[in-house]
């Protein structure tokens, strides 16, 4: 089947999609967006997290046909041209990236957290990221990155005001 959806602001089409295929497979193998990672394929690890109509979801658990006419935003859609999103920049600076496999999912999930809760407590950060597994960092650097991103966003909001 053919599916048409908006991906990172662009009208996107995929042909020859199998009816039981996941959104993750479409993104990685059909439309050339391999940022979302395929690790567990059962919603346990969060590496494939994308926005679907504004809500972060595991793209491995969304059937391709379900995104017809909907809006998807992947990790590739976070940066503004060459300028990284503050969340991405904070992950780089805090050393929150080691092998990098879990990073795209963590970036999208953190991005959503800070949109909803600009100054999250540590408990709120842990809860928001509880569905994203990282086997390298031990999570402390990731916590640092989220706190740094939140502080940066607060600073830039103040400057605007």
């Amino acid at each position: 089947m053919r599916i048409t959806f908006t991906c990172n602001g662009r009208l996107t089409e995929a042909d020859g999609v199998w009816e039981g295929e996941s959104l993750l497979y479409v993104l990685r193998e059909r439309v050339g967006l391999p940022g979302s990672k395929n690790a567990c394929e059962q919603g346990e690890c969060g590496s494939c997290t994308v926005y679907l109509d504004g809500d972060p979801v595991c793209s491995c658990l969304v059937a391709a046909g379900q995104v017809q006419g909907r809006e998807v935003r992947t990790v590739e859609g976070l940066a503004d041209g060459d300028e990284l999103d503050p969340v991405q920049q904070a992950f780089v600076e805090a050393g929150a990236v080691q092998c990098g496999f879990c990073t795209p999912g963590l970036l999208v999930q953190t991005h959503d957290l800070l949109e909803r809760q600009a100054q999250p407590s540590d408990a709120e950060i842990r809860e928001a990221l509880s569905g994203n597994l990282c086997r390298c960092t031990g999570y402390e650097k990731i916590m640092d990155a989220v706190r740094l991103a939140a502080a940066r966003r607060a600073e830039s909001a103040e400057r605007v005001n």
Partner: protein, 293 residues
Amino acid sequence: MEFLRPSTWDEALAAKAEYPSAVPIAGGTDVMVELNFDRHRPEALIDLNRVPELHTWEIDDDVVRLGASVPYTRIIDHLTDRLPGLSLAAHTVGSPQIRNRGSVGGNLGAASPAGDAHPALLASGGRVEVASVRGTRMIPIDDFYLGVKRNALEEDELILAVHIPSATAPQQFSKIGTRNAMVIAVCSFGIGLHPETGTVRTGIGSAAPTPRRATDAEEFIAAELADAGLWASRGELAASTAQRFGELVAQAASPIDDVRGSAAYRRHALSVMARRTLTWTWNEYRTAGRAAA
């Protein structure tokens, strides 16, 4: 495989009538795992995401009519005051990403004994609204679960909504797992106080072939509370009563040994969860009474 995209409830029912073996998919958090691992290759998928009434809820005469596909996140955000037990259970489902997609309809459709919503539904009581091209019927939640991953749906039926009475008194939910997030329950327990009928309802999860109530425990505690006039006096509950209630809940389970835990552990954990949640809800009921006085 066919991918069917009904945009109305009638179209969805027509699709299910035409393809009785079709698998309905809403949040996909169970169905897609089966497909990704090639465990199941259905003849057709029916995408329910486009049927608007599945995603809404209405509150009428102290009953919440909860659309089958309302995600757990929205239950937590909007219905915690009316459905506190279900909201607590919703908090323990998977992760934020899973709660953004998973729904009570999915738990009911899958009918896994480990589904987190079941003990809360059993403890609050309610009815499942199901329909087919032949018509609509209401199935009491107590009659809904028939066996391991088997429910009372006919093959042409779909779940439209769950009708759940708004809580009139404290409810609780407790779940055992190896960590807080992303856990399939080792076992779980839901409890609801119903002062208007002088009853306490319970729900046991993941410790029997189906979710089930602990009826002996419910009858025991109803009699204890009635005999001592405690609903009216809001007096203290004896520790020995809560202890006995826990033992009776454990006896109502028929758990198995499996990879998540042993039968003996499950029974023990249930007795502890039942004793604690009864004590928590009762103390909350007492405090609410004092605040109102």
